[in-house]
């Protein structure tokens, strides 16, 4: 650190000479004892505010401790009073300290020299020499006894590098290997839907009669039996199996080729999992028959094979073929004929081999 007197020659830029630091302008508290006193009182007052804040926070904690469990107004006021107490306690200290620094601490700007960050040539040479010496000591770069060259010790180097490179595998492979459970990505292809499985209401699992589904209705559907699974399997299965069931006026419905018997009297069922990145596509507009995904706004036309009419999805929602059983309940004819949800690399590849594994796991 140096004082301005020791300063080097003023810099010259574009022909102009640096005028040097602006003159120091004294503050009111520097020249008026009264202002100085006032500033001191202000700082003390701010610190007192902080003390009051702490008292408020503690008071709020101890008096509201006996709040009625779950009462919203009680939680709200505890939250607010402790929060305001903490806020005052903190702001008092903060504003006090800063006000002190601004009004009462010496505010003459000082100058400190910088030094170029590059180390001196001498230091650099020293560093290089030390590294060279070290390398020589290690025996990797010592001159050969014959004096004609340098011992390469390529076997040593090569084995070291190889060892270092593969050693992490000993730790990482088991760890990563264990993290993916059974790695059976073929499970993506299958859901709980199977021939004859009833469509039931989400979340209570009651079956749905075809007659219940009036025109303009939308039912959020889970497969029968889902609620009998334990929570973990239930969530995994639900993440793939949820379906949206709607009934359109049959004259509004364009039926895709090959899917003539997949619907029943205007009732159609589509996967609720977006083919974009998997959000539940749940916003059904009954007048336009459009299904909107709230996450990225892919829009599907239910009256036309759930094809994409807007947004980032590329593929239509998979359709669940349905029928009505003898009791009038809607049932699935089969599982989806394609994987539901977002695309993945091997989506179109058959699942030879994985199918059997899947069956065993059921």
């Amino acid at each position: 650190m140096s004082t301005p007197e020791h300063h080097e020659e003023p810099q010259v830029k574009n022909g102009f000479t640096d005028p040097g630091l602006a003159d120091h302008r004294p503050r009111r508290a520097d020249v008026e004892p009264k202002a100085d006193k006032r500033a001191e009182r202000q700082v003390a007052a701010l610190f007192t505010v902080s003390i009051i804040g702490t008292v408020i926070a503690l008071w709020a904690y101890f008096t509201k401790n006996d709040m009625e469990p779950g009462d919203v107004a009680d939680i709200q006021s505890t939250n607010m009073w402790i929060g305001l107490g903490i806020a005052l306690a903190m702001l008092g200290i903060g504003f006090g300290a800063i006000h002190w620094a601004k009004t009462l601490m010496r505010d003459h700007e000082m100058v400190e020299e910088r030094h170029e960050l590059r180390s001196s040539d001498e230091a650099r040479e020293g560093a290089i020499q030390n590294l060279k010496d070290g390398a020589a000591d290690s025996g990797l770069a010592t001159p050969d006894e014959s004096g004609t060259g340098v011992k390469r010790r390529s076997v040593l180097k090569g084995s070291l590098i190889t060892a270092m490179a593969i050693a992490p595998l000993a730790v990482l492979v088991p760890q990563i290997g264990n993290m993916g459970a059974d790695w059976n990505v073929g499970k993506f292809r299958h859901t709980m839907w199977a021939p004859g499985v009833r469509l039931t209401r989400d979340p209570d699992g009651t079956p749905i009669k075809a007659a219940d589904v009036t025109i303009g209705s939308v039912f959020h559907v889970i497969p029968d039996g889902l609620n009998d699974l334990d929570h973990h399997h239930k969530m995994d299965q639900k993440a793939k199996a949820v379906v949206l069931l709607v009934r359109l006026d049959p004259k509004d419905l364009k039926i895709r080729e090959g899917r003539e018997d997949w619907s029943f009297d205007g009732i159609v069922a589509y996967s609720k999992i977006c083919t974009h990145v998997g959000c539940p596509v749940a916003l059904y507009e009954q007048q336009t028959h459009h299904l909107l995904c709230p996450c990225h706004q892919s829009t599907f036309d239910v009256s036309d094979g759930a094809k994409v009419v807007f947004g980032p999805a590329k593929r239509p929602l998979p359709q669940l073929p349905i029928a009505v059983d003898d009791d009038g309940y809607i049932v699935a004819q089969n599982d989806f004929d394609e994987p539901v949800g977002p695309s993945y690399w091997e989506r179109l590849k058959g699942d030879a081999g994985t199918a059997t594994v899947e069956e065993e796991s059921h």
């Binding site: 650190m1 830029k13 574009n14 022909g15 005028p19 040097g20 602006a22 709040m67 469990p69 779950g70 939680i75 505890t78 939250n79 929060g83 305001l84 903490i86 806020a87 702001l91 200290i93 903060g94 504003f95 300290a97 800063i98 002190w100 505010d107 700007e109 000082m110 100058v111 400190e112 020299e113 910088r114 960050l117 993916g180 459970a181 059974d182 990505v185 499970k187 993506f188 989400d202 889970i222 969530m235 995994d236 999992i273 974009h276 990145v277 998997g278 539940p280 709230p294 996450c295 706004q297 947004g311 980032p312 999805a313 590329k314 593929r315 977002p342 695309s343 091997e346 179109l348 590849k349």
Partner: protein, 571 residues
Amino acid sequence: MGAKVNTAAAGTANFVDDRTSIGGFVKFFARKLFPDHWSFMLGEIALYAFIVLLLSGVFLTAFFVPSMETVEYEGAFETMHGVEMTKAFESTLHTSFEVPGGLLIRQIHHWSALLFLAAIMTHMCRVFFTGAFRKPRELNWLVGFTLMVLGLAAGFTGYSLPDDVLSGNGLRIIDGVVKSIPLIGSYTSYWLFGGEFPGTALIPRLFTAHILLVPGLILALIAVHLFLVFLHKHTQYPGGGKTDRNVVGLPLFPVYTAKAGGFFFVVFGVIALVAAVFTINPVWNYGPYDPSPVSAGTQPDWYILFVDGALRLMPGWVFGIPMEWEIFGYTLSMNILTPALILPGLFFGFIALYPWIEKWATGDRGEKHVLDRPRNVPVRTGIGVATITFYVILVLEGSNDIVANLFHLSLNDLTIFFQWAIFILPPIMFWVTRRICMGLQRKDRELVLHGHETGTIVRHENGEYIEVHSPLSEQELWLRVQHEDIAPLEIDPEYNEHGVRRKGYRWDRFKQSLSRFYYEDRVSPVTKAEFDEAQHHHGHGNAEADLQAADAKDADQRLTDEWNKVEDQAK
């Protein structure tokens, strides 16, 4: 008593120094200088928000149960009674409703997280627009950039911990994005979730990342970041007496101990104030995660919105061409990869490498400690504004349903508008900003050459009217003439005198065209020669101007006196 304290302090200091030689450090740090400017405190906001995050986070870990085991809720909150939920969600409800002050700490934690990233990005903007990333601070820019990315990771892992419907749908989107990765996507998803989505492994894994891995890295990098700030000494705004070889400011002890220390309490206080009054992330409204429900307004926290916006922006079909490709029977989802991985990758890559891009353009090798005024680097400022525009468009598109609902617009129209705007607006903003900067530079030249307009008009004896200009003070003048006039790079010719093509010519050509882009069209600062010329041209130097000003003032005074007289008489 004072003497006693002093002896005790001296004794302690002696004891510690004997064992650590800490005296040297204290000598070095105590009176280290920092320049005073409000914009130098933006990074501090981020640091303090992080400290508040650590403090409140420790509180939360005392009550949070990072488990996906399920329970039936029997706690205090009525609208959740009997609902099956994971322990993670249940313990979040418990912390909120049954731990007095627990909800407050949750809200403090979440508000701090939003503030942490907002402050980081504001700080990055300050560093960018003032050129504080130039040599020797490029590495620290990278450290800061990495901190920002880690901040995003910390935020996202924390957002997902309560295992509610909102964050669960966010995770589902992550799963969808991960699955789109070619070759390893499905397996990466399995690795992440420990099997099929959602599985039972994720919350404990996120918890470890959120409370150990990510904050540990952030802490370590903050240490590096601050160490480098001390090593480099702080940058300073241009002004009289401020050079690339000094730093002008006030000492760490006591001024910045009080100011920066006090500022921590201010940041904490404001966060507590906001957390006391405003709800954040009301998970009890969303309910425990279930793959079927979803609510309107399903968005990530603001700092991830840009990715969500990009995902919304990218159409599945572009002019009838599908964006999901089938190659040899394998599926490549460009409609997901482009917005969610490629675009953020390029965007972040550009930000991380920017100091080097600009270095190629200037070819400058010197250390820069005096900051640029943004107007003096119009191209950089333009790039900055264009980048911000790009980012803001993505954020707005990520909120398009909210915007549409608020202003009764069609979200489809908004999306189509943004799809065009993302290509059109950033270049326009670049051009406009650059023009504005150059306009301001010309204004500076005007000021330097002709002085301030005083608004006083004088009439010469020959009948000519002129406005009196008062010259700039030497500090004002210096501020406007101290910056470097950078010309585009000159490079060696492609062939030497023997007609041999030299190595590295193409690279040099690239740097030269970059340099031309930055500096071809520029406004040079006034030189002393021009300044003297202008003074001369003004007629008879400042003496005349002063005289005119004095005359004008006199005339003004006379008029005022007359007017007062008239007014008095009227009374």
